[in-house]
């Protein structure tokens, strides 16, 4: 009798320990407090594209310390919506630049109060903005052909546009050089454009794998470029992926000084589209969306990881160097509110919370 009691108690204890260990952090609550100048000082800004078509996107603010969410801060502060397809946001100096892709503008707000201070208009399907740190910024645009707009930040005037390849997306600054991945937009490309920020001219076009979509700079000053591969669809009646015409994704390591691609690792699957390459705080570990899950890889690894750390497929992925957590966005049905999940570097889920419609980009502070 006593033996059974001890055994059952042991099991119960074990179970409760396991449950305790698996218990997630309490999901964030909505924040309705009054805004002040420190409300947005530290936290995560998540841009939500909004419904496809004619709806409006939003910017959501997640406060890590208080574990609270403010769903639509631009509307809250400025009493008006942003516009169609809010693609990304970048904080440059004391201002935040919100790229509204389908409204052809970038809304400029004070990064502390989120109050509107101006906008950059006359753009052509802008996607991302990156500053050279010297008062200028570069905006990638899905015009035809793709162009990079060079803008003077103090007066928000467009100085010139530089023709690159189709579908320029994310950018990376290294020294005086701006590296732009050209995804191909609605078609397919395999180039990374290098722009000299002193002359604002296109210096060279580096051939990569098909559809380069994201890039990071590691601790050894190597630029890692993740390519999704070309995806071609067959005709009637299946409309399936034409595996003969499609190509697999690849991960390249570029030495910026020599301009040579030193490592080129190919993925095995032609079906999957790897994207969203990101880097940890120490800049020695890579994370990316493999198309069928989240993968982690050390920069010293010789081969691509075979096992994912998270089995879930995300629309967008980013690494928060402040909290050291990975953020993944799940748009669910692309019509209603999506969700954001947080994981530690080992792929253990921390929590998740409701975001806006099609959460796509993360800015960490």
């Amino acid at each position: 009798m006593k033996k059974i009691a001890v055994k059952s108690f042991a099991y119960a204890f074990l179970l409760s320990v396991l449950f305790g260990a698996c218990k997630k952090v309490e999901d964030p609550q909505k924040n309705n407090s009054i805004l002040n100048s420190s409300t947005f000082a530290q936290g995560v800004f998540i841009t939500n594209e909004g419904p496809f078509g004619s709806g409006t996107g939003t910017v959501l603010f997640y406060n890590r310390k208080l574990n609270t969410v403010r769903a639509d801060i631009f509307q809250e502060v400025n009493n008006r919506p942003l516009g169609n397809v809010v693609q990304s946001m970048e904080i440059i100096g004391d201002k935040a630049y919100i790229v509204v892709n389908n409204a052809n503008k970038i809304e400029v707000v004070n990064a502390s109060t989120f109050k509107s201070v101006g906008s950059i208009a006359n753009l052509e399907y802008p996607r991302y903005i990156l500053s050279d740190g010297k008062g200028k910024a570069y905006i990638s645009q899905w015009s035809s052909p793709g162009r990079i707009a060079v803008v003077q930040l103090d007066n928000l005037k467009i100085l010139k546009t530089i023709v690159v390849d189709d579908g320029p997306e994310r950018m990376l600054l290294f020294g005086d050089k701006l590296y732009v991945v050209n995804t191909g937009g609605f078609g397919s490309e395999n180039k990374v454009s290098v722009i000299n920020t002193l002359t604002d001219e296109l210096e060279e076009s580096i051939t990569t794998g098909d559809s380069p979509n994201s890039l990071v700079l590691d601790t050894n000053h190597k630029i890692w470029i993740l390519c999704g591969g070309k995806k071609v669809y067959a005709g009637a009646p299946s409309y399936a992926l034409d595996t003969a015409a499609s190509t697999a994704g690849s991960l390249l390591m570029l030495d910026a000084i020599s301009g040579q691609i030193e490592k080129s690792l190919s993925f095995s699957s032609k079906v999957l589209f790897p994207s969203n390459l990101c880097l940890n705080k120490e800049k020695n570990q890579l994370f990316f969306n493999g198309g069928d899950g989240v993968y982690a890889m050390k920069i010293s690894d010789a081969v691509l990881p075979q096992q994912s750390i998270v089995n879930k497929v995300f629309y967008s992925l980013a690494y928060d160097t402040v909290s050291t957590y990975l953020y993944g966005s799940d748009p669910l049905d692309y019509q209603g509110k999506g969700e954001v999940y947080r994981y530690n570097s080992y792929g253990m889920e921390m929590d998740h919370f409701q975001a806006g419609i099609i959460p796509g980009n993360f800015t960490f502070r």
Binding site: G55, N78, L82, A103, A121, Y233, K337
Partner: protein
């Protein structure tokens, strides 16, 4: 102004319990009424609510499009994309669930399954019938919500009429129409030419910029021309031959919505519809043979996204129907329809076609006094690409006391997937099944209009229930590709009320009418996040009220419509608020011998209400129109 509006609205509503639009009949049709009804819906119309808009009311809308007319004069909810597309939402169903017919020719596109109401001129027909509720048994695929019939109605009297009407209005709007109706007891010919154009450069409030500035809508110009010809010949032995042809061409620029910055998109469309029909009546039976052809070409261009979509479709539609009355009580109606559609757009990869054969039969039973009528009908459609369900229908009508009657019906409906659903690359799903569902309705009606008294009224009050399974919805399928699935399940139920009151004495005529619809239409997918939620863009309530006065050639009318709030996101986080619109019209007509001169002034959106029918699409504020018309008999 708002309060006055509300009071007016309420009063008209209270007074006008029964309703029909423009009841006074100007002429007597020589063809027996029963025969017309039978061939219209083949005995499927017993126990079905049909609201009828005839020539008196239509003449006020002679220069308008069908979307304006339905919005103002029916309980059908019209969803308008501003200066471009307009579609119906009948009983909480989508625009694809309303069939639109012109002289029995189906106008829907086999590619989209929709018809753009903003492109249909009211003057294409002499009368419009709105059939509420499930009509697949009568008309085939895609009529789960209801159907709208635009018909030309000949009057076999000796006449030679020539008319010209023109209107100019705000935002550079111009419409001109030239028409001629000629004939005698044996033949009739009606020719119409309509041209309209508009700049559509109205002022709207930009809700996306600091300070909500007022802006002028740009890139919204449109122009269109239509040519319509009807020809009838009635032989001595009760044979009628009808020929109809309608050609239309136009171009319109699609403006940007408020959430986007600019648009360079435009749409060019040409369409042609033609039909030939032969009817022969015998003592107790009748035969109808008809064949029709329609062609449509649509070119959609958007230089900014590089989209260049050139699509066309051809449809031939043939019908053979036979009507036989066994005795005073039993009547049989049977027929066969053949439809063949072919369509092409770059995204199909190749030309696509589909043949469809429909066979149907209905038995109508009525008691001698006519106070009780019932119908049992069955229809089967055979499509090359799918298996269509059998669609039975049962309806009955009963006179309870004098002019008070009761009716009920129930039936099955279906809708075949469109060519876009099946073949669009990427994403098209060739293994889609047809949607199917049931609809049912019961109601009361009071109608003394046939008594030809000075004071007439008509009222309908009904409740309906319908459901659709395997509703086709486009969902993300991985990557950037969307693909349609038979995923959705919808249940619609509600109440409809229409009333009309008319009084006529010597030179004075008064018309009051109103309608109210309460609709619940929700997502019935148990696994869906939004299970049980009202569908987007289906208002819980929408209502209309009109008053029309005629005295010694002077005409004055006021029209008010109320559209309830609508959800614009499936999880109900965003709502478009309810709004009311008030329109006013005043005019006079003069008769000089054989000449009839008509002048009129319209004020639309009298209260300059700022509203949205579709989220973020600018809508015009107050606008004016002046029209003048001359008719020579």
């Amino acid at each position: 102004m708002m309060r006055l509006q509300n009071i007016f609205f309420f009063l008209v509503f209270l007074l006008c319990s029964p309703f029909l639009f423009g009841q006074v009949k100007d002429s007597v049709y020589i063809l027996p009424a029963a025969e017309i009804q039978a061939f219209r819906s083949g005995g499927f119309q017993t126990g079905v609510k049909t609201t009828h808009i005839d020539s008196v009311v239509l003449s006020d809308y002679h220069l308008s499009s069908l979307s304006v007319l339905l919005n103002q004069q029916s309980s059908v909810f019209v969803k308008s994309y501003g200066t471009s597309y307009a579609g119906t939402s009948f009983r909480g169903m989508s625009a694809a669930h309303t069939g639109i017919y012109w002289n029995d020719i189906p106008l829907g596109s086999p590619m989209l399954g929709l018809t753009d109401l903003s492109l249909l001129p009211v003057s294409a027909g002499d009368c419009i019938d709105i059939r509420h509720g499930g009509g697949s048994a009568a008309f085939g695929s895609g009529n789960a919500g209801g159907s709208i019939h635009i018909d030309s109605k000949p009057e076999f009297i000796k006449r030679n009429k020539l008319g010209i009407q023109q209107s100019i209005g705000s935002f550079g709007a111009y419409t001109g129409s030239l028409y001629s109706v000629n004939g005698n007891e044996r033949w009739q010919s009606s020719s119409k030419m309509i041209f309209n154009k508009s700049e559509n450069n109205f002022i709207f409030t930009d809700l996306f910029s600091d300070g909500y500035p007022k802006k002028v809508l740009s890139h919204a110009e449109s122009s269109r021309a239509s040519l319509i010809q009807d020809f009838y010949y009635r032989a001595k032995n009760n044979q009628t031959l009808s020929l109809h042809a309608w050609y239309q061409g136009g171009i319109r620029n699609i403006p940007a919505t408020m959430s986007m910055s600019m648009s360079k998109a435009s749409e060019e469309e040409q369409s042609m519809r033609a039909s030939a029909e032969w009817k022969q009546l015998f003592a107790t039976s009748g035969i109808q043979l008809m064949t029709a052809y329609s062609y449509n070409h649509l070119l959609y261009r958007d230089p900014t996204t590089g989209i260049f979509s050139d699509s066309y479709y051809h449809t031939t539609f043939s019908k053979a129907a036979y009507d036989y009355a066994f005795d005073e009580r039993f009547q049989l109606h049977t027929g066969i329809n053949l439809t063949y559609s072919s369509a092409y757009v770059n995204e199909y990869g190749m030309k696509r076609n589909q043949g469809l054969v429909s066979v149907y039969a209905s038995i109508q039973y009525r008691i001698k006094s006519g106070k009780f009528k019932s119908t049992l009908a069955l229809r089967r459609d055979y499509a090359e690409l799918f298996t269509c369900p059998m669609t039975p229908f049962a309806g009955l009508e009963m006179v309870l006391y004098k002019s008070l009657g009761w009716y009920a019906n129930a039936g099955r409906n279906f809708r075949i997937p469109t060519f876009n659903d099946l073949f669009w690359r990427p994403g098209g799903n060739p293994s889609l099944k047809p949607e199917n569902g049931i609809s049912s309705e019961a109601g009361f009606s009071i109608d003394n209009t046939k008594s030809h008294q000075a004071f007439t009224y008509e009222m309908h009050a009904s409740g309906f229930y319908s459901s659709v399974q395997d509703w086709i919805i486009w969902l993300p399928a991985g990557g950037m590709v969307w693909s349609p699935q038979n995923m959705k399940s919808v249940m619609g139920r509600g109440l409809e009320y229409e009333g009309m009151l008319a009084f006529q004495r010597k030179d004075f005529r008064l018309h009051l009418s109103g309608s109210y619809a309460f609709t619940l239409s929700d997502n019935q997918n148990k696994t869906d996040l939004n299970y049980g939620r009202q569908l987007i863009y289906v208002p819980y309530e929408n209502a209309n009220a009109s008053i029309r006065l005629e005295y010694k050639g002077y005409l004055f009318s006021l029209h008010e419509s109320y559209t309830g709030g609508r959800y614009v996101s499936p999880d109900h986080s965003e709502i478009l608020p309810a709004y009311q619109l008030l329109n006013m019209s005043a005019g006079k007509f003069f008769v000089f011998g054989n000449y009839l001169l008509r002048i009129g002034l319209d004020v639309n959106n009298l209260c300059n209400t700022s509203y949205q029918s579709v989220q973020w699409i600018p809508m015009p504020g107050r606008s004016y129109g002046f029209k003048i018309g001359i008719e020579f008999n």
